[in-house]
């Protein structure tokens, strides 16, 4: 039986490439935020 071939859908790949580019540009900031969240949670839970 012949299976209907789905048309190519380039949009998810374009979105993935753009997202990856954005993350790459901002990766240093993400690291900072995790550190900040760590400090915030520590301050909230342990008060120090």
């Amino acid at each position: 039986m012949l299976r209907r071939r789905e048309p190519p859908d380039p949009w998810p790949w374009l979105c993935a490439v753009l997202a990856a580019a954005y993350f790459a540009v901002h990766l240093g900031m993400l690291g900072r935020s995790f550190v900040e969240w760590g400090g915030i949670l520590t301050a909230l839970v342990f008060g120090r």
């Binding site: 048309p7 997202a19 954005y22 240093g28 900031m29 993400l30 935020s33 520590t42 301050a43 008060g47």
Partner: protein, 768 residues
């Protein structure tokens, strides 16, 4: 507690009026009915506060009475139309969405982030420069005066044009200010409009053909935009504009427009130009979408007629809800668009447009410099670059193939708005995306559509979740804390230990503003209403006291004798001036060596100077040029932020020298050492100016510029024009109390002087 009850009563009656009124409209879905109620809420609130304010009766009692009348009218209208039983329809439990775990994780993350924002809004104080400088002072002036006053402000970016901005947002702010008679909720005034914008995004997505699931994705993507997260705890106006424009668009894309939709459009788009002048730029774009849509749905003749009706509705709404501000400014200043008509437009920065323009959504100007993450005016988020923009193109192409020209145009709004504002604000790319914000719901609606239509749905949903999490993780930690997570940690630590009280302007913000904060706390404790004179840039809002009882006046720089006469004539109790010279301040000298102490940030391997009038400086090194020019009575001061390392300059022989310094790429407090050569006179007798490179064809504040784009030299704002105020405080015979505040990145140290011969009798407490 009483304030909370008053708040709930006022908001409750307005909500009742809006919910009852919304039942009278023939609307397809519960979401549309809720969105209609939100628009009516804004319309009832704006209209009633505008009327009361224009009559000089903008106080809590009158406002509450007007809302009771409005709610009775809404209930009567709903009863007369037989729709009253539908009042609870928007709140019925929704049908099962079937979103799957990825959507659930996204929803929980967004919900958690907004719970955090609400928490911060309740326990911390406002700390956005724009809000403290003019948004909140104007709203506070309405609350204090009971009328639509044009308040005196501290000088911000060297002008006070901000006092004439249209005030619809500040009328809406009264729902948060008047019940408490203070700023307890001042920072959360945009929070409900963020939720309203998300609802409008949902409705737009449904209008573009999304099922519920795609529409929920669209709303979540919008809520996770870092600017929206940041402004939900900031008393600015961009999210409010976004709500009004997007909700009007959602209703106007239903053809043919019935009377109810025209009314909703009139309220939403009519009120928008009264919130922000630039909102008017979106209305022609929106009307063009409506015209395309009407023509493609109804044919050319009927379509143009329908579009004309929409245009007339928007114009009529504009006259009712926004006309007051433009007539007032024409009356007071001779031009309806004042102050927009007198602000010179910047020359186009083609490097930004052509070189950086295509990649700005990716750069997002949030990683520059590294210490500067998202705040209330930066951060469109990964979801804008990676989902909204491509989805806009994808949807638009598909809609065009189907002949749905209006929907195709609406989906392209984010791209069109981005291009428009890039050209309009090419020298301010760091603040660009908040201007694009009103068009973003259309882009995220298209993203919701793409998420449903793609053949790789799970893959794209994962990308959407990653974008949302990335934005939230970056945006939420320091919402409202400006640039200092350390201050936030310290505040939370104290809160957890129960050791500190949640003092006004005590906990949040940049730690280098501690001295400002001391001043504000001092003013909070001053009994009675004081007149405070400022002579240069200061944060105006905290000067007003916790219940806005103090009045701020701006005294122009003038001769010393006139200045003293004005103090007496205006009944000034306190004078707040910058103290930029002297012991332990930013400038020190032993007579031959001059030391400047500056604060700043870097951009990695580039150097940025953000100062008026210099738009940007970015090279691999900083060039500091100094001149020694004889001038009388001039002490040195530098009221700008700049960035550099420790340099020691041995100037060339002569009156003028230029040197180029290396830049290490580290964050520093700058200590710039200028050493005069023995043959020149002592520095006290000279004007000393620092100049910096201005790049002619590039850059706002924080983006790199190729060296060959460097244009002219410009002097920084130093010395400031009224520098004589920086002289020996002992010269002011009226001044007694030198509290020696110092240390602000905005305008140097703040010194608060008490005027002894002022007319007010009560002696204030001693400054801390």
């Amino acid at each position: 507690m009483l304030g909370a009850i008053r708040f709930l009563a006022l908001s409750g009656f307005t909500s009742l009026a809006a919910l009852a009124g919304a039942t009278c409209f023939d609307l397809r879905t519960r979401a549309e009915q809720l969105l209609a109620a939100a628009i009516l809420w804004a319309g009832i609130a704006t209209g009633s506060a505008l009327l009361l304010g224009a009559c000089g009766h903008l106080n809590y009692r009158a406002l509450l009475a007007s809302q009771i009348v409005a709610s009775l009218a809404g209930l009567a209208a709903a009863r007369a139309s037989g729709t009253l039983r539908r009042i609870g329809r928007p709140f019925r439990a929704p049908s099962r969405l079937g979103g799957g775990p990825v959507l659930v994780v996204a929803a929980v993350a967004v919900g958690g982030a907004y719970a955090w924002v609400a928490f911060l809004g309740l326990v911390t104080e406002p700390f956005a420069g724009d809000a403290l400088m003019y948004h909140l002072p104007i709203a506070a002036a309405y609350a204090r005066e009971g009328r639509l006053a044009v308040p005196a402000l501290g000088r911000y970016w060297n002008n006070d044009l901000w006092a004439y901005y249209p005030g619809n947002a500040y009328l809406l702010d009264q729902w948060a200010l008047l019940p408490f008679q203070n700023g307890t909720l001042a920072d959360l005034v945009q929070f409900p409009f963020a939720l309203g914008s998300a609802l409008a995004t949902y409705a737009l997505a449904r209008r573009l053909g999304c099922a519920q699931k795609g529409a929920v994705w669209a709303a979540l993507l919008f809520l996770a935009v870092p600017i929206v997260v940041g402004q939900s705890k900031t008393a600015l106006v961009d999210v409010t504009v976004s709500f009004l424009f997007a909700s009007g668009l959602a209703f106007s894309l239903a053809m043919p427009p019935d009377t109810g939709r025209l009314v909703l459009l009139a309220i939403a788009w009519g009120a928008a130009p009264g919130v922000k002048i630039s909102a008017a730029a979106f209305l022609p774009l929106g009307l063009a979408c409506i015209a395309f849509h009407a023509c493609s749905e109804l044919g050319a003749r009927s379509g143009l007629r329908a579009a004309a009706r929409c245009g007339l509705a928007a114009a009529g709404g504009g006259a009712v809800f926004s006309g007051y501000w433009y007539v007032r400014n024409y009356w007071l200043q001779g031009h309806p668009l004042y102050p927009a008509n007198i602000v010179p437009s910047d020359a186009m920065a083609w490097t930004n447009v052509l070189l950086y323009g295509p990649i700005l959504p990716l750069l997002d100007l949030t990683a520059y410099p590294p210490i500067f993450t998202y705040n209330y005016e930066t951060g469109a988020g990964a979801q804008f670059a990676a989902l909204a923009l491509p989805a806009s193109i994808a949807f638009s192409a598909q809609a065009r193939r189907k002949g749905q020209l209006g929907l195709a145009a609406a989906a392209l709004l984010p791209l069109v708005a981005y291009a428009f504002w890039l050209l309009r604000s090419s020298r301010s790319p760091h603040t660009l995306f908040r201007y694009v914000l009103p068009a973003m719901p259309a882009g995220f609606a298209a993203a919701g559509w793409l998420l449903e239509r793609t053949t790789r749905r799970a893959f794209l949903e994962t990308i959407a979740l990653a974008c949302i999490l990335f934005s939230l993780i970056n945006a939420a930690p320091h919402v409202g804390t400006f640039v200092s997570p350390e201050a936030l940690r310290a505040a939370l630590r104290d809160l957890r230990r129960g050791g500190g009280e949640l003092g006004r302007f005590y906990r949040m913000g940049d730690v280098s503003l501690q001295d400002y904060r001391r001043t504000w706390r001092y003013l909070d404790s001053v009994p009675g209403s004081a007149n405070i004179a400022a002579s240069h840039t200061i944060f105006a809002y905290p000067m007003l006291g916790d219940d806005f009882r103090h009045r701020l006046r701006f005294l122009r720089p003038m001769r010393h004798r006139d200045w003293l006469a004005n103090l007496s004539r205006l009944g000034i109790d306190y004078v707040a001036v910058a103290q930029l010279q002297g012991r332990n301040t930013r400038l020190e000298s032993d007579g031959t060596r001059l030391r400047l102490i500056l604060h700043g940030r870097n951009t990695g391997d580039e150097l940025a100077v953000a100062a008026h009038p210099v738009q940007a400086v970015s090279t691999r090194s900083i060039r500091v040029r100094y001149r020694l020019v004889p001038a009388e009575n001039v002490r040195a001061a530098l009221g700008v932020n700049t960035f550099a390392e420790l340099f020691e300059l041995d100037p060339a022989d002569g009156q003028e020298a230029t040197a180029e310094f290396p830049w290490s790429g580290e964050l520093h407090t700058l200590e710039l050492l200028l050493e005069t050569v023995p043959r020149t006179r002592a520095w006290e007798d000279h004007e000393i100016s620092v100049t910096a490179l201005e790049v002619q064809d590039a850059a706002g504040s924080w983006i790199g510029v190729p060296l060959d784009r460097v244009g002219s030299w410009h002097r920084l704002a130093w010395p400031i024009e009224y520098l004589w105020l920086q002289g020996d405080p002992a010269r002011f015979s009226l001044v007694l109390e030198d509290t020696d505040f110092r240390g602000s990145p905005y305008s140097g140290a703040l010194m608060l002087y008490r005027v002894l011969e002022g007319p007010k009798g009560a002696a204030p407490p001693r400054a801390p």
